[in-house]
């Protein structure tokens, strides 16, 4: 059995270039994790959803990372406190002699145990502590992990009752597709980078592709959105991005998600395409496009 080919245009909510799709396919075929980087709002997380949807793998298993997350937290949890509580209760005291009833597999652990084709999304890995990516390396290499808290002598018993042992391993026909996103807040360790297939999502410069992305992202209520409005907005938007970059308003350049919000407002306010294209000075409702006051001021200075 094999994963199907990913085209990048097979879903109704995501559209990407064939180059990106090719990289994704390469990673899937070589069974390597995909590390996706790119500016905020350019669709890193959505890429994982689109891969899952297009290949018919259901929802991706999404692991959100916090600064305190440890690799172990994604795999299993040992509830020592509950064990302590139950050891004092005669009703549970027998059970509390063992560790295994208090071990529960977490989402990534469950995915490895199940060994079914799926997409695992590790979102914003750069938020975690610097040791985190290295701890995950082996897990992704072998798709197996060791439950260190489970005593060796309970291995058999746990296997019989909970259907996993100290070593959780699956021999899947297909390894899960692992998509990791990063915002470049922290430098990632070299061995980790080497293991992944690196994919940088750049903001599309092609108006046609951008318009297709916009169309896929607008809700159905916006079906009646005239295509010349979208075309005009996309055209102006690319110019705005250029102007903003020139003015140094690049703390957070407007990206796809801002563009979609902007087009929604333009549509809602009934702006005519010609006005969007030709308005002198500042474009209408440009406030939606900038996330910091500093960026907005700089852009306004450049545009007017």
């Amino acid at each position: 059995m094999n994963y199907k080919n990913y085209t990048g245009s097979g879903t109704d909510f995501y559209q990407t270039t064939s180059a990106v799709a090719e990289t994704v396919n390469l990673a899937i075929k070589l069974q390597r994790p995909i590390l996706v980087e790119g500016e905020p709002g350019c669709g890193k997380t959505k890429l994982a959803h689109s891969v899952a949807a297009e290949l018919g793998l259901g929802e991706p298993i999404e692991l959100r990372i916090k600064s305190t997350t440890q690799a172990k937290d994604l795999l299993y949890r040992f509830d020592a406190l509950r064990r302590l509580q139950e050891v004092q209760n005669p009703q549970f005291a027998e059970r509390a002699r063992y560790v295994y009833p208090y071990i529960s597999l977490q989402r990534l652990g469950l995915a490895i145990q199940a060994g079914k084709p799926c997409v695992v999304l590790i979102d914003e890995i750069d938020k975690a502590d610097i040791d985190f990516p290295n701890d995950l390396l082996d897990v992704f290499d072998q798709f197996s992990f060791d439950i260190e808290d489970l005593p060796q002598e309970e291995d058999q018993r746990c296997r019989a009752e909970r259907s996993f042992g100290r070593m959780v391993k699956s021999t899947p026909d297909l390894k899960p597709i692992v998509v990791i996103t990063s915002n470049r807040e922290k430098q990632l360790p070299e061995p980790f980078l080497r293991r992944c297939i690196y994919l940088e999502l750049v903001f599309p410069k092609d108006p046609g592709l951008l318009a297709a992305i916009v169309r896929k992202n607008l809700d159905h209520s916006a079906d009646d959105l005239a295509s010349d409005l979208i075309a005009a907005a996309v055209e102006r938007f690319l110019a705005i991005r250029d102007q903003a970059r020139k003015a140094g308003a690049d703390q957070k350049l407007p990206a796809t998600s801002e563009l979609i919000d902007w087009i929604r407002i333009l549509h809602w306010r009934g702006q005519a395409p010609e006005r969007i294209r030709n308005s002198e000075g500042l474009p209408p409702y440009h406030e939606v496009l900038f996330k910091t006051a500093n960026d907005r001021r700089r852009f306004e200075g450049e545009a007017s």
Partner: protein, 370 residues
């Protein structure tokens, strides 16, 4: 597609990259062969180049190295026209005075009505300018715009490259660990509590234990004199990374040229503090001194030797161990006070590179000198 087979090109490019010290392994090469078998990159040379990028490049520098290696292996006949153009441009740079896109940021300072450079440095990472732009100086002159535009496939990497990255330094500090359980019991000792419950039949009281804490610390004395200007970016990375190192105590003090009675909290030599006060407050901590020790100026000064020795003598009792990190290349130490320091004093002197830093870390952790 003529000449070498795709596999031959891959092998050639891979060998060339290894020669250029791109950190690739056998596995990367085998993966590329497998990708080729699976039908990736076989369509054309361009597809093959993209495959190399996808598999092997992790940064702009590596992408560029791949392009160069690829040009060497796959298209050995050099583009003569381009070479001629480059030569012409180098001979007469004034003929093509158009600033390239990479220099756009420096343009505002060239326009006459603009405030001279004063407003722009905030957009620079102070580490970017390395030796040209002193880190702390807001009135520093930015790098001049390049006279010629990059030609053809030529590309430039304009990201700042520090000697050792903040991440690597942080990892090193974190290796300075000595965990001990000290102080009052704060953490529940589950094993002991359960054992106590089994022993007594009832649980009179939960058993607590002190939490594990890192007791390692580090003190840094850093030289910010003009002779250390090239390493100011390194010093600022060092100070930043130290805060992430999870040490019990860490502090950087600055001095100019030679440490004497007073040291300073800031690299700008503000907020001074007496050496005795530091010795009292941080007694017993390992000490790292970062200074060129007179090697940058390159001449021998007996007075400097005397003063340095006196300082080393004075602090030896207070801090243990002491490591002197000299960022000047080792051959430049000869004939200066830095060389005397290596021969005569009891402290360890190491140069600035990754291996030496690891060695320094071992020494600071209390390992004996080799």
């Amino acid at each position: 597609v003529t000449g070498l087979s795709s596999q031959g090109v891959l092998e050639g490019v891979f060998r060339e990259l290894i020669r250029r010290q791109v950190p690739l392994g056998t596995r990367d090469y085998l993966d590329s062969l497998r990708a080729l078998q699976l039908g990736f990159g076989g369509q054309s040379r361009e597809h093959l180049r993209m495959l190399c990028h996808r598999l092997w490049a992790r940064s702009d520098i590596e992408r560029r190295a791949i392009d160069v290696a690829f040009a060497l292996v796959a298209e050995p006949a050099a583009d003569d026209a381009e070479a001629r153009e480059l030569e012409a441009a180098l001979q007469g740079p004034t003929a093509r005075q158009r600033p390239g896109p990479a220099t756009r940021r420096t343009e505002p300072s060239a326009s006459p009505d603009h405030k001279p450079a004063g407003g722009t440095p905030s957009t620079y990472d102070p580490r970017a300018g390395a030796a040209f732009v002193p880190a702390a100086d807001p009135d520093a002159i930015p790098l001049p715009p390049a006279g010629i535009e990059p030609l053809g496939r030529e590309t430039y990497v304009l990201q700042p490259q520090t000697v050792v990255s903040e991440r690597d330094l942080t990892v090193m500090w974190r290796r300075m660990r000595s965990f001990t359980r000290r102080g009052p019991g704060r953490e529940l000792d589950i094993e002991k509590t359960i054992r106590e419950r089994c022993r007594c039949g009832v649980l009179p009281q939960a058993v607590l234990r002190p939490s594990r804490r890192n007791t390692a610390g580090l003190l840094v004395f850093a030289d910010t004199s003009p002779s250390m200007a090239p390493w100011r970016p390194f010093l600022s990375v060092l100070a930043d990374s130290l805060a992430l190192g999870r040490l019990r105590a860490q502090q950087v003090f600055y001095f100019s040229n030679l440490p004497r009675n007073w040291l300073f909290h800031e690299p700008t030599l503000d907020e001074r503090i007496n050496l005795d006060e530091i010795a009292r407050r941080y007694a017993g901590l390992p000490l790292l001194i970062v200074s060129d020790g007179g090697a940058a100026r390159g001449h021998f000064s007996p007075q400097r030797v005397r003063q340095t020795m006196a300082f080393v003598e004075r602090i030896t009792g207070h801090f243990q161990p002491i490591v002197w990190l000299n960022p000047m290349p080792r051959p430049r130490w000869n004939g200066t006070s830095a060389a005397i320091l290596v021969d005569e004093s009891r402290i360890s002197v190491v140069p600035l590179d990754k291996e030496a830093l690891i060695r320094a870390m071992d020494l600071l952790r209390g390992e004996r000198r080799a």
